[in-house]
Amino acid sequence: MAEVHHSEHIPKWKKDEIEDIKNLIESYPLVGVVGIGGIPAKQLQSMRRSLKDVAVLKVSRNTLIKRALDESSDDIKKMDDFIEVQTALIFTEQNPFKLFKLLEKSKSPSPIKGGMITPNDIIVEAGPTSFPPGPILGDLQAAGIPAAIDGGKVVVRETSAVAKAGEVVSQKLAAMLTRLEIYPLEVGLDLRAVMEEGSIFTPDVLAIDEEQVFADFVQASQQAFNLSVNAVYPTSENISTLLAKAAAESKNLGINAVVFEPDVMGSLLGKAQCEMMSVASAASGKDEGAVDDELKE
């Protein structure tokens, strides 16, 4: 793969390829570097097709990509840092955040192959499997998966991490994980960086916390509503609350200040009655003869 042709005589197809990439760089406001490791050729084709209306995916050799970047602007040259292993370029007129979301959504779980390094811990959960007893039991155990027979089925006895992030996954384990339908990898176009107008955006910036955005909108709407009511700026949205607030304040004042208005008399009478009952109860607790019979129920 690592073809190192530093000679002056570059074949024409390579020159054309470099020119092609440079043209793309010039025609799109946004250039992204994506990792395409682990994507089967067929899947890559279908991804390319599904992106057709949004972005152009250009798969090429890293040496040619680098050459094209180097021959473009100084800004674009900075994207060199992200060219490693299996790489493609993506070109779009899209908002980089939208592009990132789109590519993230295109990722799907995929089996890991023997000899590969797992990017995250691989956990095998305790529980039944679909296998009847047989040689598979030994294979699972040999791969380090705590399998046993239970009720005529192969089961995983306990949940355990069978490989830690950064470890190489053995052939045996990889095969068993696949049979258990455990797919530790996320395969898809992995956006490493995009450049737009000289600025580089990496996934840590591109990943939007949508829950936070939603929460911000909730908070902002509340703040706006609070302000509108507290500043008494009547609108069709808050007028009911303003009226209710005024009505409640009026009622409170009427009762608390004992203002004899027909609308609060019921409340005042109820309050008095309740107080009377309570005091009567306290008094009869001391001496039953202190209250009349109608209060003794």
Binding site: V258, F260, P262, G266, L269, G270, K271, Q273, C274
Partner: protein, 69 residues
């Protein structure tokens, strides 16, 4: 609330709640009666069925209780 207690006292004693009666009760309790409040009380109670209002108060309680303190 003295005025209200006086009114309920009269109501319970099955007396008419008039300005004079309210004033008499309050005066007997040593309260300096405000004529306007006594008048207003009687006027406000004119169209209120006290027995009814007290029964309604019991029903209104859950609504009142729902309001946070």
């Amino acid at each position: 609330m003295e005025y209200i207690y006086a009114a309920l006292l009269l109501h319970n004693a099955e007396k008419d709640i008039t300005e004079e009666a309210v004033t008499a009760v309050l005066t007997a309790a040593g309260v300096d009666v405000n004529e306007a409040r006594a008048k207003a009380l009687v006027a406000a109670l004119e169209d209120v069925d006290i027995a009814d209002a007290m029964a309604t108060a019991a029903v209104a309680a859950p609504a009142a209780a729902a309001a946070p303190a």
